[in-house]
């Protein structure tokens, strides 16, 4: 990792990541990649988010779907843990709640493969500052 030696350095790094360099490094055709975020805070992990995340990573690979699965913090829906957010290429992110292994399988098979929504969507109910 290069040290950030000036404010300009920082802005450069920030810009480069905004453009999704990370994604590009991981895939030759970044526009087609599926992004999955698993809420891995204490509350999520306690409800099984770790298993869900492991399952999603390995199954997506096994089923030949190009995707990156990353962890993130608490989304706030404690009543519906584990929660995951799936972003299909070119589409708005969709959050699913109570994603156990069975549900994860359904999400891969239906939503990720065919774009067909499945039960258990958690509608976004907040405003962001972006």
């Amino acid at each position: 990792m290069e040290k950030v030696k000036s404010l300009a350095d920082l802005k450069k790094i920030s810009e480069s990541f905004k453009k999704g360099i990370d994604l590009r490094e991981k895939s030759s055709h970044p526009d087609d990649i599926v992004q999955v975020k698993v809420a891995m805070a204490t509350c999520g992990i306690a409800s099984g988010a770790k298993e869900t995340m492991e399952y999603l990573s390995s199954e997506l690979e096994k089923r030949g779907i190009e995707a990156i699965v990353t962890q993130t913090g608490c989304m706030g829906y404690c009543y519906a843990e584990p929660t995951i957010e799936v972003t299909l290429p070119g589409q708005n992110p969709v959050v699913y709640g109570e994603v156990d292994i069975r549900k994860a399988d359904e999400i891969i098979e239906k939503y990720i493969k065919t774009g067909e929504l499945v039960n258990g969507i958690i509608p976004q109910n907040y405003e962001t500052i972006d």
């Binding site: 990792m1 290069e2 040290k3 950030v4 030696k5 000036s6 404010l7 350095d9 920082l10 802005k11 790094i13 920030s14 990541f17 905004k18 990370d22 975020k37 809420a39 891995m40 805070a41 204490t42 509350c43 992990i45 990353t70 962890q71 993130t72 913090g73 608490c74 989304m75 706030g76 829906y77 404690c78 009543y79 519906a80 929660t83 957010e85 709640g97 067909e116 929504l117 499945v118 039960n119 258990g120 969507i121 958690i122 509608p123 976004q124 109910n125 907040y126 405003e127 962001t128 500052i129 972006d130």
Partner: protein, 592 residues
């Protein structure tokens, strides 16, 4: 096309399952079930107007839908592409129909500032934080601003401490900046301890860098190069993520010497707390970090004059810090435009108790309790009646129906007899006994008092004993006066905030639910049916078929009766274990 039907608990109670079935059958009838899917979703957070059906992709938002409306939606909207006007939500203030959910006011009920990155970025990857303009505020400040200028911005923003007391953050920084010393410290108070509260944990687990960045900014402003995070050891994941964040920030040189090529150096150490609630009090926290017994000392001197190792120390809470970088990026004016006159910005709450959507929410100051509980929180579980909401943790008070339209901010909650606290919000329904509730909180404070000052150490114990006495049906009317006097004296004489607020649950329940206390002491009854010692099990003669199941399961042989004849419970023998009630298949046993 997708039809999203709210499957949240609130909407389920109002027949959303029926709507879902009806929609499906209507679609099948028209052979549309392959092209249009009916999806059940989690709560939309608008339970007041439920059940909700949302049509995708055009984002039409139907409220108060009945199963009968399902046919209209399919026939009109799905088949003909025409919106069903009668089901579209009317904005109560503008009286205008709002078709698209994105334009609806209730989405603005929650605004994520402190939680802006939580659930969005990977907390273990600093690059994602940087991509979201992370460390930019720090960079701007240390390369282009004098400390005093940055403090002025903090003052203008109107940010107040989110740990409970609501002290203005800018003023605190200013005080510490003005104290001359060879060494100063920035301390992050991550000793979250209120029962049911986990705001700070979620922030540290989801967005550790914003806390680190804010601490560095504070360091620059007050003239400190050393930060300490006091975090409870029971938060292992938060600790791990902080450690990762610290090492990544150091690798980038965002912490350490000469940050971004400037003269400013700053680094942060972690300190672990052993889980004593009182160590959330800043002087106790500092003593604990010094290796001393975690107990408070009298203020003044304030930590801004004499804190850690006797040096000027600025202590800020996690959520307070999480607000700070974005205030510098978006400006003090932007921040102060959110919230109420004296409480700016948002507040994160951990919603818990008898509420449908238990979870973490962030709302602008000034949002009413009603909005939080009935809209964002999805209302009361199992369709029960709302009774009370407890805010401010063990030091807060219980608010009632009449407070529901109080806009939440620091001063309003205090005026209503509770307090903001760190953000725990526990909702109670008609089944919750307010006397036992007060007893529960006192049990907590008795357990968590450090024991240094007499009123908190002994007084709280005596309060708890008396409440227990009353819950057991042994109370007398004059005991209520004693409760009030003891509570007032404990508040008036205790050394720190813990004792000064620990009687709040007692006082607020006596104020708001006096009749419940009266019922306990005069009628020896618990109206909520929670105090077991005040309850009796009865057999309703008409319902009893004399199957003898109850008599056989009773561990103390308190139930007698001939086979096929109504049975009888002898209250003198009954130990109120409830086994009979569980066993009875004929709903013949009740508790009164």
């Amino acid at each position: 096309m997708h039809l999203l039907v709210c499957g949240g608990t609130g909407c389920r109670a109002s027949e959303s399952a029926g709507i879902e079935a009806k929609l499906k059958s209507e679609l099948e009838k028209r052979s549309l079930d392959q092209s249009v899917q009916v999806i059940s979703t989690g709560c939309f957070g608008f339970c007041e107007k439920g059940p909700i059906v949302k049509v995708m992709p055009d984002n039409t938002f139907y409220t108060q839908v009945t199963p009968a409306d399902a046919e209209t939606i399919v026939a009109e909207h799905v088949v003909k592409g025409r919106r069903v006007e009668s089901l579209i939500y009317t904005d109560p203030s503008s009286k205008e129909k709002v078709e698209e959910s994105a334009k609806m006011g209730f989405y603005k009920k929650q605004l994520r500032i402190a939680l802006r990155n939580c659930g969005f970025i990977n907390p273990e990857n600093v690059d994602e934080y940087i991509a979201r303009d992370g460390y930019l505020a720090l960079g701007n400040i240390i390369t282009g601003m004098k400390p005093q200028e940055a403090i002025e911005i903090m003052k203008e923003s109107g940010l107040r401490g989110r740990g409970g007391a609501g002290f203005p953050t800018g003023l605190k920084w200013d005080l510490t900046a003005r104290t001359e010393a060879d060494q100063k410290y920035v301390v992050c108070n991550a000793d979250e301890g209120d029962p049911g509260a986990f705001m700070d944990r979620s922030i540290l687990e989801g967005d550790p860098h914003s806390v680190l960045e804010a601490m560095a900014i504070c360091g620059y402003c007050i003239g400190s190069d050393k930060g300490l995070i006091y975090i409870r050891a029971e938060y292992p994941l938060a600790i791990e993520r902080l450690k990762i964040a610290l090492s990544q920030a150091r690798e980038y040189g965002l912490l350490g010497n000469n940050i971004m090529g400037t003269e400013f150096s700053f680094d942060i150490e972690l300190r672990y707390g052993a889980g004593a609630f009182v160590c959330g009090e800043e002087t106790a926290l500092i003593h604990s970090m010094e290796g001393l017994r975690g107990e408070p000392t009298l203020k003044p001197p304030f930590p801004s004059e004499s804190g850690y190792n006797g040096k000027p120390t600025n202590v800020n809470n996690v959520e307070t810090l999480a607000n700070i970088p974005v205030i510098y990026l978006k400006g003090a004016k932007w921040f102060s435009s959110i919230g109420t006159e004296k409480s700016k910005g948002t507040k994160v709450f951990a919603l818990a108790g008898k509420i449908n959507n238990v979870g973490l929410i962030e709302v602008p100051m000034g949002t009413t309790l009603r909005e939080v509980i009935f809209e964002i929180g999805g209302g009361i579980k199992d369709g029960k009646k709302f009774k009370s909401v407890q805010t401010g943790g063990p030091s807060g008070g219980c608010l009632t129906e009449k407070h529901l339209d109080t806009p939440i901010d620091f001063d309003n909650l205090i005026a209503a007899g509770s307090m903001m606290g760190s953000g725990g919000m526990i909702v109670m329904d008609e089944d919750d006994c307010m006397v036992s509730m007060a007893r529960y909180y006192l049990e907590f404070t008795v357990e968590e008092s450090c024991g240094k000052c007499a009123p908190c150490r002994i007084g709280n114990k005596r309060l708890h004993e008396l409440l227990d006495h009353i819950c057991k049906g042994n109370g007398k009317l004059e005991d209520l006066d004693r409760l009030v006097n003891m509570s007032n004296v404990i508040k008036d004489t205790s050394l720190c905030g813990l004792g000064q607020s620990s009687p709040n649950p007692v006082l607020s329940t006596i104020n708001n639910f006096k009749d419940e206390y009266d019922a306990h002491v005069t009628d020896k009854k618990c109206p909520a049916g929670q105090c077991r010692d005040l309850m009796e099990y009865f057999i309703i003669e008409e319902n009893c078929v004399g199957c003898t199941a109850c008599a056989r399961v009773c561990p103390v042989a308190a139930i007698t009766g001939e086979r096929k004849e109504p049975h009888l419970i002898n209250p003198a023998i009954c130990i109120k274990c409830g086994a009979c009630m569980e066993k009875c298949k004929f709903d013949a046993i009740i508790i009164q």
